[in-house]
Symmetry: C2
Subunit: 668 residues, 2 copies
C-alpha cells in the first residue's frame, strides 16, 4: 500500500513541500485581512517594518558579496553543479527568512489589535504569523533539496547546497544577533538602570532599533539557522546512505521522513488553541505534541516500507531510531524548561542572588550556564550511541533527520516570540488599555520561554547533525585512499582537537566584543540625545530613532564579516598544512567545545532574563530595587550570550564540517 | 665526565632535593630573625596566622577522612605499595603546603616592617618567604618520588603516589578557593560598593577572613597544585620511559632533569634584586630568566649523557625537546601578561567598558576570557606536536618534565603574591605612613600579575602533563590485550568525549555556586554586623571578625567534598559501564574543555581585577565613580573565576587521568 513511497519517491517530498508553501500563502492572506489598528500603532509598526526590511536587504547585499567569489571558487574547484547548489541553497534560505520576517512585522500590530478582543484572538494571530516562517523554512528547504537532486542526481553537489545555506545562516545569526543585542543592551542599560523608565518606553531613542532587532535576530536568524541544519542533515543522511548502501532507497528515505513530518507540523498547528485554563505555553506545546505524535505514528509505515531495500537494516530497529530523534526533542524541551522557566529553581537562585548585588547575580548566572550543559550533552551522547547500536552510522543520521523533521512546528513556535515581543512593545508605546497590555505581556513572557526552548532544540539537533557530517568526512576521504583512522593517540589528531576546540571560543569572543561595541555606541548616543534633545522625558520632543537604527545597522554589518570567515578559513589552513587527520580532530574538537559553549550561553542567558522578569513581577523588592538593578545587569549580560554568541555557534560548527567535506578530496 | 649521572643515578635527585630543603631551612631562620613590627601589626598578623592554620588543619582532617578509605581500597585492589605511595604522596603534599603557608603568614608582617626601610628590603623579605614554599614543593616532590622508587622499584605504585598528591591538590584548590573567594567577594561587595570604604579597611568584619583566604587559597592551594603536577609528570615520564625503552636510563632521566633545575631555581632566586629603575616585576623575572637559562644550559650534558642508552633517540633532538618545555613556559608568561597586565589592551578595554555600566563591563570581560584561550592552547598543541615529531611519545613527556622543572622558581614568585597582599592589608589596617603603604601597594600590584602568570603556567603544564598521562593510558591497557585504538569514528569514544567534556563544566559550576553561597552568607553577616554593632564605622566598636572566619570555613569544608569526588567517580562509572575506549574519550574530552574553561577563567578573572586597579589608579573617573563600581562588579565576578573554579580544574583533569591509569588493568 505504501509502495508508492518507493515507486514514486519524489511524490511525498514534493507534495509536502508544496502543501507547506500553499498553506503559508493562505495564512499570509488571512493575516493581511486582519485589522491593523489605529494610526499611531501603524506608525510604529511601519517604522519597525521599514527598519527590518532595510537591514535585511543590506545584510543580503553583504552576503552576496561574500557568496559570489565563493561560488566561483567552488565552480572551478568542484564543478558547476556544486556552485549552482551553493547559490540555490543560499537563495532559498535568504528568501525563506526574508518573507517570513516581512510577514512577522506585519503580524505584530495585528496581534496588538487582536489583543483588544482577547487572549485567544491574539494568540491565534501571532501563532499564524509564526507558522508562516516555520512552513516556509521546511517547505523551501525540502523543496530545494528535492528539486536539485531531481535535476542533477549529483549528491556531492548537494554539499554545496548545504554550504550555501550555512553561509546565509552564520551571517544572519551573526549580523542579526549583533544587531538585536547591541540595540537591546544599550537601550535597556540607559533606560532601565539610568533613567528608570520601563521597557519599550516611547521616550527611549533606542526603542525602535530594539524592536527591529527582535525580528532580524530572533526571526530571520532562527529561520536561516534551522533551514540550514534541516537541509544539511538531510543531505548528509542522503550521502551517508548512498555510501553505505549504494541504492536509491537510502537517498529517498530521509526525504520521506522530512516530508511526512511537514504534514505533521501543519496538522499540529491546528491544535494550538487555548484550553479552558487560558494557559498559553500549554497551547503551544499542544501543537508540538500533536506534530510529534503524528510523526511518531507516520514514521512506522515509511520506515518499514524503505527498510527492506536497505541491506542489513532491521526495520523495527530503524523505526526505533526514528523515535530516538523525537524523544530527544522532547527531552531537550523538558531540560531547557527546567533551567529557564520563571518558576524553576535555577532562575529563582539567580533572582535571590541579585539581592546581594550585581556581582552575586552574575556569579549565580554563570554557575547556571555552566551546569545547564550537563544533561543536554549526556542526552545527545546517549541518543547518538543508542542510534548507532541499533542501526549503525546510518542510524545516527536517521535519528538526526527525525529530530529535525519537527523543524516546521518548532520554528512556528519560535517565531511566535518576536511577534509577541513587538506586539507588547507597540501596546506599551501607544498606551493601550491595561486589559490589552495584560494580554500582550502574557504572550511576550511565553515568547521568552519558547525562544529558549527552540534554541536548545537548535543546538541539540545541530550537535547530532554535526556528528552525522563528521561521519561522512572519513568516508569522503576513504573513497580516495583506504580507510582513514582518527586515533586519539595520533598527535596530529590531538593538535586538531585543540585548535578545533579553540574556534568556538574565538568565535564567541568576537560576538561578545561586537555586541559590547555596538551597545557602547548606542549607550553613548542615547545619553547624548537625553542631554541634547530637550523635553524627551516629558514627551515634548521625539527622540531621533533613526540614528540609533543606523548605529546598530552599521555595527552589525561591519562586525559580522571576520567571525563569519573563521569557520571557512580554519579548515583550509589546518587541512592543507597539518593534513586530513588534524582536520578530523578539528571537526570533533569544535563540536565538543562548541556544544558546551552554545548551550551554556543560550540557557544561561534565558535564565538571567527570566530571573529579571521574576523580580519585575514583584518578588524580592520588585521594580526599582537593588535586586532589580542587579537582575537587569544579569539580563544585559545574558542577552549577547543567548541571542548572539550562543546561537551563532550552531552554523559555525556546521560550516566547518561542510567545508571539510568539500575539500576532503584535495587533502589526500 | 658526567657518567656519574648514569652510574649513580640517585645522586643528583637526592642531592638537589636535599639542597632545596636545607636552603629553605636557612631561609626560614633568616625570616624569623627579621623584626616583626609593632604590637598592633602583630595582633593582625597573629589573627591571620591563627585563622590560616586552623583552617588548614580542618581541611587536612577532611582530607584524611577521604584518604583513608581510598588507601584501603587501593591496597586491596592494587597492593600495599600503591596504598603506601598514595599516603606518602598525600602526606608530602600536605606537609609542603602546610609549612610553606605557615612561613608565609609569618613573613607578611615582617614585609610590612621591612617596607619602613624601603622597597628592596620589603621585596627581599617577601620573596624569601615565597621561596620557602617554592623550594619545599619541588624538594619534597622530587625527594618522595626518588625515595619511593629507591625503596620499592615499583613504577605502577608511583601512580598511587601521584594520586595522593592529586587528591590533596584538588581539595586544597577547592576548599582554599571557595574560602578565599567567598571571603573576598562578600567583603568587597559590602565594603566597596555599599559602604564605600577601601580595601582592607579594619572596620570591615570580613577583612581577616579575606587575608586568611589569600594564604589558604593562593599559597597552600598553588603549592599543592604544582606539587601534584610536578610529581605526576615525572612519574608519568618514568612509566612511559620504562614501557618504551625498558631500561633504567629512561627512568632516571626525568629525575635528573628535575634535580638540576632545582639547583637552577635556587641560583635564580639569588638574582631577584631591584635594578636601578626600582621596577619590581623585572626583578622577579630576572630570577625566572636565570633559572631558565641555567636549566637550558645544564640540560645539555644531562641529555647527551642519558640519550645513548635510550635506543633510537637522537641526543640533539632530545635536547631540543627539553628546550621546548622552557620555551613554552616563556611563551605562557608572555601571553598571560599580554592579556592581564594593567597596561594591556584587553584590560583597558574592560576598564573603558565600565564607563557604560556593570553590564558592559561583564560583557567585555567575558569576551576577554573567551579569546584569551586561543594562543595558549595553540602553543600547547604545537609544543606537543613538535616534541612528538622530534622524539616521539617520550619526547612529549620530556617536554612536560622540562616545563615543570621550573616549578621551584615559579612557586616562589607565586607565593610572593599572598605575602605582599597580606603585607599591604596589615599596612592599611595599622595606618602605616604613606611611604610604607606605597611600598606595599607596589608589591601587591605586582603580586596580582605574578598570580595570573603562574596560573597560566600551571594550566599549560597541566595540559601537557595530562597529555602525557593519556599517552600512558593505552600503554597500560595494551600490556593486557594488544594495542587499543581510540578512533574518533568509534561511537563509544565520541560518547566518552562528550561526557568527559561535560565534567569541567559541571565541576566549575559547583565551584561558582559554592563561592556564591559563601559570599552571600558573608554579605548577609557583614550587613547584619553593620546594622547591629553600633559604632563600627566610627571605629568605636570592633567588628566580630571571628564569625566571618567561621562562616567561610564551614562553607569551604562543606562545599568542597562533592566536586572533589566527581573526577574520582566519573571514570569508574564510564570505564566499567561503557568500557575502556569510552574512558579514553572521557580523558581527552575533559582535557579539551578543561583547558579552555580553566584558561578563560584565570585569565579573564585577572584582567577584570587589573581593570579595577586601572580605574582605582585614577583613570576614567577613579574611585567612587560609576565606572569604578562597575569595575568592582567585574572584579567580583572574576574572583571565583580566577581563584576557585579556574585553578581547581587542573587537579581535576589529572585525577581523572590518574584514576583511569589505576583502573586500566581491570577494564580489559
Amino acid at each position: 500500500m505504501f509502495l508508492i513511497l518507493t515507486n514514486q519517491p519524489y511524490l511525498l517530498p514534493f507534495a509536502s513541500a508544496a502543501a507547506a508553501l500553499i498553506y503559508s500563502i493562505y495564512l499570509v492572506r488571512w493575516i493581511l485581512d486582519q485589522p491593523q489598528g489605529t494610526k499611531d500603532m501603524l506608525e510604529i509598526s511601519s517604522a519597525i517594518a521599514q527598519g527590518s526590511s532595510a537591514y535585511l536587504k543590506r545584510q543580503a547585499k553583504s552576503a552576496a558579496m561574500l557568496a559570489l567569489p565563493i561560488s566561483i571558487i567552488l565552480g572551478l574547484a568542484l564543478g558547476i553543479n556544486t556552485a549552482l547548489g551553493f547559490l540555490f541553497g543560499a537563495a532559498a534560505s535568504a528568501i525563506a527568512g526574508f518573507i517570513g520576517m516581512n510577514v512577522a512585522v506585519r503580524t505584530n500590530v495585528r496581534t496588538t489589535e487582536a489583543a483588544k478582543k482577547g487572549l485567544n484572538p491574539a494568540l491565534t494571530t501571532a501563532f499564524k504569523g509564526g507558522s508562516v516562517t516555520g512552513l516556509l523554512v521546511v517547505g523551501m528547504a525540502l523543496l530545494v533539496v528535492t528539486v536539485f537532486y531531481y535535476l542533477t542526481h549529483d549528491l556531492p553537489a548537494l554539499i554545496g547546497l548545504g554550504f550555501g545555506g550555512s553561509l546565509i545562516s552564520v551571517l544572519a545569526r551573526l549580523g542579526g544577533g549583533i544587531y538585536t543585542k547591541g540595540a537591546d543592551v544599550g537601550t535597556d542599560m540607559v533606560g532601565k538602570i539610568e533613567k528608570n523608565i520601563p521597557e519599550d518606553d516611547i521616550r527611549n531613542p533606542g526603542v525602535i532599533a530594539d524592536l527591529v532587532g527582535d525580528n532580524v535576530g530572533d526571526c530571520a536568524g532562527m529561520a536561516a539557522d534551522l533551514f540550514e541544519t534541516y537541509a544539511v542533515t538531510i543531505v548528509a543522511a542522503m550521502i551517508l546512505g548512498h555510501i553505505l548502501f549504494d541504492n536509491s532507497a537510502s537517498i529517498f528515505f530521509p526525504l520521506a521522513l522530512g516530508g511526512i513530518a511537514i504534514i505533521g507540523s501543519i496538522i499540529g498547528s491546528f491544535f494550538v488553541k487555548l484550553g479552558s485554563d487560558k494557559a498559553i505555553m500549554p497551547a503551544l506545546y499542544k501543537g508540538l505534541i500533536v506534530s510529534a505524535v503524528f510523526a511518531a505514528i507516520s514514521f512506522y509505515p515509511i520506515t518499514t516500507t524503505f527498510a527492506p531495500q536497505l541491506t542489513g537494516q532491521n526495520p523495527f530497529y530503524l523505526y526505533l531510531v526514528s523515535l530516538i530523534g523525537i524523544i530527544t526533542t522532547g527531552l531537550f524541551v523538558y531540560i531547557t524548561e527546567a533551567y529557564t522557566s520563571k518558576n524553576s529553581g535555577p532562575v529563582k537562585t539567580i533572582a535571590e542572588a541579585s539581592v546581594t548585588g550585581h556581582g552575586t547575580n552574575i556569579i549565580a548566572g554563570l554557575a547556571v550556564s555552566l551546569k545547564s550543559t550537563f544533561f543536554p550533552v549526556v542526552v545527545i551522547a546517549i541518543a547518538a550511541l543508542g542510534a548507532f547500536l541499533l542501526a549503525g552510522l546510518y542510524g545516527v543520521a536517521i535519528a538526526a533527520v527525525s529530530m529535525l523533521s519537527l523543524t516546521g512546528i518548532v520554528v512556528a513556535i519560535d517565531s511566535f516570540g518576536p511577534i509577541t515581543d513587538n506586539a507588547g512593545g507597540i501596546a506599551e508605546m501607544t498606551n493601550q488599555p491595561a486589559k490589552v497590555r495584560e494580554v500582550t505581556d502574557g504572550l511576550d513572557a511565553v515568547g521568552n520561554t519558547t525562544k529558549a526552548v527552540t534554541k536548545g532544540y537548535a543546538i541539540g539537533s545541530a550537535g547530532l547533525a554535526a556528528l552525522v557530517l563528521f561521519a561522512a568526512y572519513p568516508q569522503e576521504l576513504s573513497t580516495a585512499t583506504g580507510h582513514i583512522q582518527f586515533d586519539l593517540s595520533n598527535p596530529y589528531v590531538i593538535t586538531g582537537l585543540f585548535i578545533g576546540g579553540a574556534l568556538p571560543y574565538l568565535f564567541a569572543a568576537f560576538c561578545m566584543e561586537a555586541v559590547g561595541k555596538a551597545a557602547g555606541a548606542i549607550v553613548t548616543e542615547i545619553r547624548r540625545q537625553f542631554k541634547d534633545i530637550k523635553g524627551i522625558m516629558t514627551g515634548k520632543n521625539k527622540p531621533d530613532y533613526g540614528r540609533c537604527v543606523d548605529i546598530v545597522t552599521q555595527a552589525a554589518l561591519k562586525e559580522m564579516i571576520v567571525p563569519a570567515l573563521i569557520p571557512v578559513v580554519a579548515p583550509l589552513i589546518v587541512g592543507f598544512v597539518l593534513g586530513p587527520q588534524a582536520l578530523g580532530g578539528l571537526l570533533i574538537g569544535s563540536i565538543i567545545t562548541g556544544i558546551f559553549v552554545a548551550i551554556s550561553m543560550t540557557t544561561g542567558g534565558a535564565a538571567w532574563d527570566n530571573a529579571k522578569k521574576y523580580i519585575e513581577a514583584g518578588a524580592l523588592g520588585g521594580k526599582g530595587s537593588l535586586a532589580h538593578q542587579a537582575a537587569v545587569t544579569g539580563d544585559t549580560v545574558g542577552d549577547p550570550y543567548k541571542d548572539t554568541a550562543g546561537p551563532a555557534i550552531n552554523p559555525m560548527i556546521k560550516i566547518l564540517n561542510v567545508v571539510a567535506l568539500l575539500i576532503a578530496g584535495f587533502l589526500v
